[in-house]
């Protein structure tokens, strides 16, 4: 998840598919995002690298669509429906998530536990 400028970012991602819920006039997803290239990255409590300006999930409403889909607090969102989220402003991210014409969003999220899980799984099968 570390971000070296100029180098491609590699991460282990999980695909999360969230069905939007109609609540009144709005379609909601049930979580809050923070971060973005226009915000101060040092304030982000979830990022490992304090210069990471990506979009992070800061809060999940319990029993909301995101919670049901398996999104966890502290996840970094890499893709939304194919749109990149690593180098966007927060408002752009919000717009991509809250498009009224789509009622399903497919996110690619990454978290530290995934990396560790992969590393762990790589180690536990020693090559013969």
């Amino acid at each position: 998840m570390s971000f070296v400028p100029g180098q491609p970012v590699t991460a282990v991602v999980e695909r999360v598919e969230i069905q939007k819920l109609q609540q009144g006039k709005n379609l909601i997803l049930g979580f809050s995002i923070g971060g973005g290239i226009d915000q101060d990255p040092r304030q982000n409590p979830f990022s490992e690298d304090k210069s990471d300006k990506g979009i992070y999930v800061t809060r999940i409403s319990p029993k909301g669509p995101a919670d049901l889909a398996g999104l966890k607090m502290g996840d970094k969102i890499m893709h939304v429906n194919g749109w990149d989220m690593t180098m966007v402003t927060r408002d752009q991210a919000r717009k991509k998530l809250t498009k009224k014409s789509e009622d399903v969003v497919r996110l690619l999220v990454t978290r530290k536990s995934l990396e560790e899980a992969v590393k762990h799984s790589k180690c536990s099968y020693p090559k013969h």
Partner: protein, 528 residues
């Protein structure tokens, strides 16, 4: 292009040309009561004879510039020299004489009264001190040290009183107000009563009984002088201090072109407020230029000119005449409203064209003046001793460079209709003044590019020193909220309205300097 185009739908009142008609310019003075002498008071009265506009319009409607009736309707005023007097001037001069004699009588009367009162006031304490010595010198007790000390105090207090009265009252009169100055009259009456009462007491108790206690008499004189000093203090407060605190905000509007200014005045009587406003007027308002108002008047004349009302029912009845006139005017208003009027179009294009022309002439003027100023150079002290040839004083230098800019300046003034405000002599004088004081061309031009306050122009241009105060309330009553009065002068009038400055309720709020604390804002989140 020098000529102004005249083939739009209405007539022009071009600027007054001194002397000859220029080839391109036609001055069409149909109004016979216009006076052309620049030094006289200008009364622009437009007496439009009702039959004329129709005639004038048919003449102008073609492309023909000169109409057939030009010889009959133009008054031959441009041929007069500067020193001739018209009938108007004679009437005006006699009126001036009468007015000035009347005012002077009144001024002298008040002045003599004031002098008599002053003498009475100053000589009274001295008389109190001297009379006992003259009338009963043998019976009088000798004056001890305390008594002589009082002499010194009387002398110095009288001196202070003399200086104070000189400072407050012996100033040149600013104006002649229509009614008596109430506070001054009250103070004079008060002083007179006071002095008379002191004399009465002195006469009865001291002169009649021939009191020997000289110290008591001296103390009595000292008390008189003290009381006079206190009355002088009262005079300062009433005449000078009371109106300093601003109480009313007055709005002054000139009736002809709408120039408005606002001033803050204290508690004054209406006539004193009017005086203060007139003094501000001379400094603040741009000079009144009647030549700029002619376009709107010609437009107004054109609106009514196209309609003529015919009375078809030839009924004689006097009581029907008023009704007929009323219905006629209503019919005219209705017809004018219905008529498709394109005069706004003409106004717009004419104003744009005028603006463009003014700017072009102004650019030419600025360049010409800058170039003219480069031709002269100030000589230093050492150079003056070395080369005494061809040295000019400021007046000659001004005359030397004036011709190169004269034409551009004259054209500019004519375009902005200011040419009657500045005579050739005054322009040269101003140029000499600017050269003497090392002013730049821009500083020289400043008084011609913008119309300045009336004070700036030559003394005979201060058109009216005779103002009339028109007011519904008595002019010696104080200003109140909503007072309206008019200050009429020959050409225009100033409409003055006053409003009270509201009572201000201020409260305080204390902020502890240590209470200014800040935190960084936590990264906010957006919910989706």
């Amino acid at each position: 292009m020098d000529t102004e185009s005249t083939y739009s739908g209405y007539s022009y009142y071009s600027g007054r040309s001194r002397g000859s008609h220029r080839h391109g310019e036609r001055s069409r003075d149909r109004h016979k009561s216009r006076s052309k002498d620049s030094r006289s008071e200008k009364s622009v009265t437009i007496n439009t004879p009702p039959a004329e506009p129709l005639l004038g319009d048919t003449a102008v409607r073609g492309e023909q510039v000169q109409d057939d009736n030009w010889g009959e309707t133009t008054t031959a005023i441009t041929g007069t020299s500067e020193h001739s007097l018209s009938q108007e001037d004679i009437v005006r001069i006699t009126k001036d004489l009468e007015d000035s004699v009347g005012l002077d009588c009144r001024r002298y009367f008040t002045r003599t009264l004031a002098i008599i009162l002053g003498l009475l006031v100053f000589l009274t304490p001295l008389a109190f001190l001297v009379l006992p010595h003259i009338l009963w010198p043998d019976k009088l007790q000798s004056c001890g040290t305390a008594c002589e000390g009082l002499f010194i105090s009387v002398a110095f207090k009288l001196l202070i009183l003399l200086l104070a009265v000189w400072a407050l009252f012996f100033r040149p009169a600013r104006a002649g107000l229509p009614r008596v100055y109430v506070f001054r009259a009250l103070l004079a009456v008060l002083v007179l009563l006071f002095v008379i009462s002191y004399w009465l007491f002195y006469g009865v108790r001291i002169l009649d009984s021939q009191d020997e206690n000289y110290q008591g008499i001296v103390q009595y004189a000292v008390s008189l002088v003290d009381a006079l000093l206190f009355i002088h203090y009262l005079a300062i407060v009433l005449l000078e201090l009371r109106q300093l605190q601003p109480c009313y905000s007055v709005c002054v509007t000139r009736s002809t072109d709408g120039e408005t200014r606002h001033y803050n005045l204290g508690q004054l009587s209406i006539q004193r407020a009017a005086l203060a406003i007139i003094e501000h007027y001379y400094c603040d308002f741009p000079v009144h230029n009647p030549a700029l108002l002619s376009a709107s008047k010609s437009r107004a004349a054109k609106h009514l000119a196209g309609l003529k009302v015919y009375n078809v029912d030839a009924g004689p009845g006097n009581n029907a005449a008023a009704g007929i006139a009323h219905s006629q005017s209503r019919a005219m208003i209705a017809a004018a409203a219905r008529r498709r009027d394109t005069s706004h179009n003409e106004l717009y294009y004419e104003e744009a064209e005028h603006e463009r022309r003014v700017r072009k002439r102004r650019a030419r003027l600025v360049v010409a003046v800058e170039e003219a100023f480069t031709h002269i150079k100030r000589m230093q002290e050492e150079e003056q001793k070395k080369a005494p040839g061809d040295v000019m004083d400021p007046r000659e230098a001004a005359q030397a460079i004036f011709p190169s800019m004269a034409r551009a300046l004259q054209k500019y003034l004519r375009t902005t209709k200011q040419q009657h405000c500045h005579s050739m002599e005054s322009i040269q004088q101003h140029l000499a003044f600017c050269i003497t004081n090392n002013m730049t061309p821009k500083a020289f031009l400043e008084s011609y590019l913008t119309p300045g306050p009336t004070v700036q122009y030559s003394r005979d241009f201060w058109r009216a020193r005779q103002w009339t105060l028109i007011s519904e309330a008595s002019v010696t009553s104080g200003l109140k909220d909503g007072t309206i009065f008019l200050l009429k002068c020959v050409d225009f009038s100033l409409v003055v309205t006053s409003k009270k400055i509201p009572y201000i309720q201020m409260s305080e709020e204390y902020i502890d300097p240590k209470s200014h604390k800040f935190v960084l804002r936590l990264q906010s989140e957006t919910s989706v």
